[in-house]
Symmetry: C2
Subunit: 337 residues, 2 copies
């Protein structure tokens, strides 16, 4: 029996589009504002500044150990909002489907999106679906945009980073990038290796409750990994960063996989981790608070702001040497998210 | 000399991405919130309900008489917000670029986006750029999402449509759809034929100032055209619509082109028109007000709500007959926006 697939009619805006949306998509996305199927959703007035973010997801493969493109799209945009200290309010969902995409695959992805939204408490309230002919896309691309609300008194930004601040990371790095690479190349690195995709907004909100003014810098090290994100933060802050290789959390399976394939885990993407720059006095309390969360179980302090190379990141190696961590130039691993 | 093109490195999130963004894109998008290059933009607190909308644009060809994919993406999302009675506040911009896209083409599109945003007074405040390998996309796909603010007292929705209301359209229909079809197929229908892409938020705001409570229904007839959008509105309202063929504005060049190609202009997409359902007593004043705008010069009353077919649209033809306007099922013309 032939599998049902996406056809160009599904992108017409006509009855076939409506049927796809109502029969397959809305099942997984219960928000009544979305079910109105108007061109825009209406939200009640909000108290506080708004955060607004967008990301397109083109990951290849679309299914991988630990998740699929749908989970990445929900968690990624939630995290972009969370990195501004915002409480995520809602998401939009824009799908670009390639003719021939099996409806079963779309259903699996929509179910993942629905489950992630429900777990995070952040609904999809507006959406759009387009279809492109076979060979003009790659199965599915997803854009999610999101709105969040930033409470008064929260001010996170590289301009607030100060000499002496502690540099924290919320958990082991490199898992997502290595998972995608292994899945794409068909390399089996063991079942423990999987994407770290998860939403970090509750962890951040909880930390802000603990140290409202002590959280200075916050970024999620996605494309380009820990090293590139730190390099961008150091440059933007105009201050030197020093980090200690031995303190950077790394899973055994990731370390072994990277050694096997000759990859540096500090440059591999993460989809459920954040870098936190906190005032020195608050560092210990911050690590304790992070470790109380599932998503922060292995949080660690990995270094400090300061040193003789303003705008640069110095890695103190296990062997006792030191090495400049340059930002990534090009793309060793395209389509990681 | 070889033309410079997009490479996979431009999507890496590393230095090559940053160079593309700062050298080519930010020139055209001056908003300082975007120039911070954080993962999300921060906006001041807003008074009023929020409208939130998203749309992906996959139009083929990307350049056509009257505009390009960039203008469609800006005006389209502004219009989706405007159709809820919102004043558009800001946009996000998500680009999916295919490896090999000439940088000159990207520059032309970015310039159009910048010019449209400036003309509309609606800035891009946050963005994202991804690159997919050659053959896995089609030059450029654009997602724009937008936030608008809805003033107190504005309530537009199909549930407010009443028996006896007048049905207005803001100008001639079918131009965008016919333009894209002709451009794609290489058919020359004359220089007067071009896309109607434009932003309608000022026209709507002006009308709301004139008849704050009299505007009941508002939609832009994009994919599926006037007929499909009216059919959706009639079904949602649970009321019959009757429209008069002779009163529907149609440019001569569009009428002639449709006759030549055997197309029905009522089913062709528009990107700068709206359908307005207003209370009967306000209809005349509304048409006068619409005609005072460049975008509403040829606005007309084309019918009324009522009749013996609840949830259906009846077209009274020029010849004196009548015809049921069914919504489009599939896609006679894919990738129109």
């Amino acid at each position: 029996m032939q599998k049902k697939t996406i056809t160009l009619d599904h992108g017409s805006g006509g009855v076939a589009s409506q049927e796809l949306i109502t029969s397959l998509m809305l099942n997984h996305l219960p928000d009544p504002r979305l079910h109105r199927l108007e061109d825009a959703a209406l939200l009640p007035a909000q108290n506080g500044r708004l955060a607004f973010s967008t990301d397109s997801y083109v990951v290849d493969p679309i299914f991988f150990p630990g998740g699929n493109i749908g989970e990445l799209a929900v968690n990624g945009t939630i995290n972009d909002l969370a990195m501004q200290g915002a409480s995520p309010l809602c998401l939009s969902l824009g799908l670009i489907l390639e003719e021939g995409l099996p409806l079963d695959d779309l259903e699996t992805i929509m179910a993942a999106i629905g489950a992630c939204c429900e777990a995070a408490g952040v609904p999809v309230v507006t959406g759009d679906t387009k279809v492109v002919p076979r060979g003009k896309g790659d199965r599915i691309f997803i854009n999610t945009s999101g709105i969040g609300v930033v409470a008064d008194g929260v001010h996170i930004g590289t301009d607030r980073i100060r000499e002496g601040d502690a540099i924290l990371v919320s958990g082991p790095v490199g898992d997502h990038g290595l998972t995608i690479l292994a899945a794409r190349e068909g390399i089996d690195l063991g079942r423990e290796l999987q994407s770290d995709t998860c939403a970090l907004h509750r962890l951040v909100q909880d930390l802000l409750a603990e140290i409202p003014a002590g959280l200075h810098g916050l970024r999620d090290p996605t494309r380009g990994g820990l090293a590139t994100t730190l390099a961008e933060m150091a440059r933007a802050a105009g201050l030197g960063f020093e980090i200690r290789e031995e303190d950077i959390p790394l899973q055994g399976v990731t370390r072994a996989g990277c050694e096997l394939l000759g990859l540096d885990p500090l440059y591999l993407a993460n989809e459920g981790k954040c870098i936190l720059i906190v005032e020195a006095a608050a560092a210990e309390a911050a690590v304790v608070r992070l470790r109380a969360h599932t998503q922060g179980r292995q949080a660690a302090c990995i270094g400090r702001v300061g040193g003789s190379s303003p705008g640069r990141v110095i890695l103190r190696t296990r062997a006792g040497g030191s090495r400049l961590l340059e930002p990534l130039f090009g793309d060793p691993l395209p389509r990681i998210c």
